[in-house]
Symmetry: C2
Subunit: 224 residues, 2 copies
DNA sequence: TACAGTATCGAACGAACGTTCGACTAATTC
DNA sequence: GAATTAGTCGAACGTTCGTTCGATACTGTA
């Protein structure tokens, strides 16, 4: 029997993406354990058995979603960081990149943030590796900031993980209809964090306000 | 057959607590959907059918855990807030109360933070109600702080939810062996947030540093 | 001693789960 | 035109799931 949706030309390489997209939605709605392969079959309009031509297990499917999302957020970040030298500006880029990706790919990012424990034996470690690398980048930038004397004597691990807390919690509450979009939200979080970790060290708080990452909006439009 | 653990006197009212405790551990380890009633039966040493004498469904079990945890964190908060008038101090109390409860009941709090979507039809709404009430308290305190001119023109919803992000993310990374304990962690987060939302508005950043909530440590010891 | 209520459990229910198998088509290669 | 390969699926596998039923013991009251 031929495919029944002629409008959609899913040549082989695209079909895995197609499945991954629907799977991310289902996982984000019902959770990894709560979602069944049958749910994904229904959503993606691929038969139950047909799915297994594209991935070998439910675990691998989750891994593919998380790994793709994380790899691409990390790749974008490293690209953008090349353009900046100052620690503060680099931190703003990290935050804006994170929030922007979060709001543009909310389903994948919810799965990434919410289902890290669901990943098992071989896959879990690989994803932890990527996650650690991401943390190390943030941590290194923060340490640079610190070395420049821009922060108080706050515990750096706590500071960086609190920043991740602010950013990663966004998926729980952000409503595009009432909440700020990517650029403004990134600025807000960057503002809280950068002023927050200063702890009264630098007396002219307006200083950090000056170098807003003005290219963010352009990027949003270019990619959208 | 008599109970097989003579050392433990589980009179009826205590046995539900006993089950709730083990269930919270199992849910926190495997997630609500990933955990089976059989897992809880094994962990609590109550037979599969025996469990249903104490709760009517897996959903209700999750509800009881979440509702108990949230109700008691809210009750403690309202008690402590009576002692403070100044918005800044009240916000510090909220943060310290939250973090303290989080680190003292990590299993229940992980379930509360992680499994909010798993709750269904009648229970979901009831828990959202409590959650909303908690948010309103924090929001009201923040608005007071704002009215006193202590904050910049930051979006208050974003500010408060970012604070919750910092606090609720803690369960993902906090390691008692290497990370600060409740009081210091609460102070760190309060520091980031309070300085953060000032946004250079108040020029003497050292001011907020002065009124640390020194009674926190005593409370920890009294309750432990 | 009889009865009622509380507490407990083994065994089973039907449904849903992740995964596999073998068969079938449609295109590509020789 | 035969053989090969990629893509797709219905049907079934064995397992585990949440929940229920009926029976059994213990505990107080009449």
């Amino acid at each position: 029997m031929p495919r029944s949706n002629p409008a959609q030309t899913d040549t082989p390489p695209n079909k895995l993406k197609h499945i991954l997209g629907h799977a991310a939605r289902v996982f984000s709605e019902k959770g990894f354990e709560g979602a069944s392969i049958r749910d994904i079959s229904r959503a993606s309009r691929v038969s139950l058995a047909g799915l297994y031509y594209y991935f070998e297990s439910k675990q691998k499917l989750l891994y593919l979603i998380q790994s793709n999302a994380f790899t691409s957020i990390l790749r974008r970040l490293e690209e953008r960081l090349e353009a900046a030298q100052k620690p503060e500006q680099r931190l703003r880029i990290l935050i804006s990149n994170h929030i922007e990706y979060f709001l543009r790919n909310p389903l994948e990012m919810k799965v990434l943030a919410h289902e890290e424990d669901a990943l098992e034996a071989p896959y879990r470690k690989e994803l932890l590796e990527i996650k650690r690398r991401y943390y190390e980048i943030a941590r290194a930038i923060f340490d640079d900031l610190r070395r420049e004397g821009e922060t108080g004597r706050i515990n750096p691990r706590v500071a960086v993980l609190s920043l991740f807390g602010m950013m990663n919690w966004v998926y729980k509450w952000h409503n595009p209809k009432v909440d700020p979009h990517a650029e403004a939200l990134g600025d807000a979080i960057a503002g809280i964090f950068l002023h927050g970790v200063c702890n009264g060290k630098s007396e002219n708080g307006a200083r950090t306000q000056l170098l807003r990452d003005r290219s963010a909006e352009q990027r949003v439009r270019a990619a959208g």
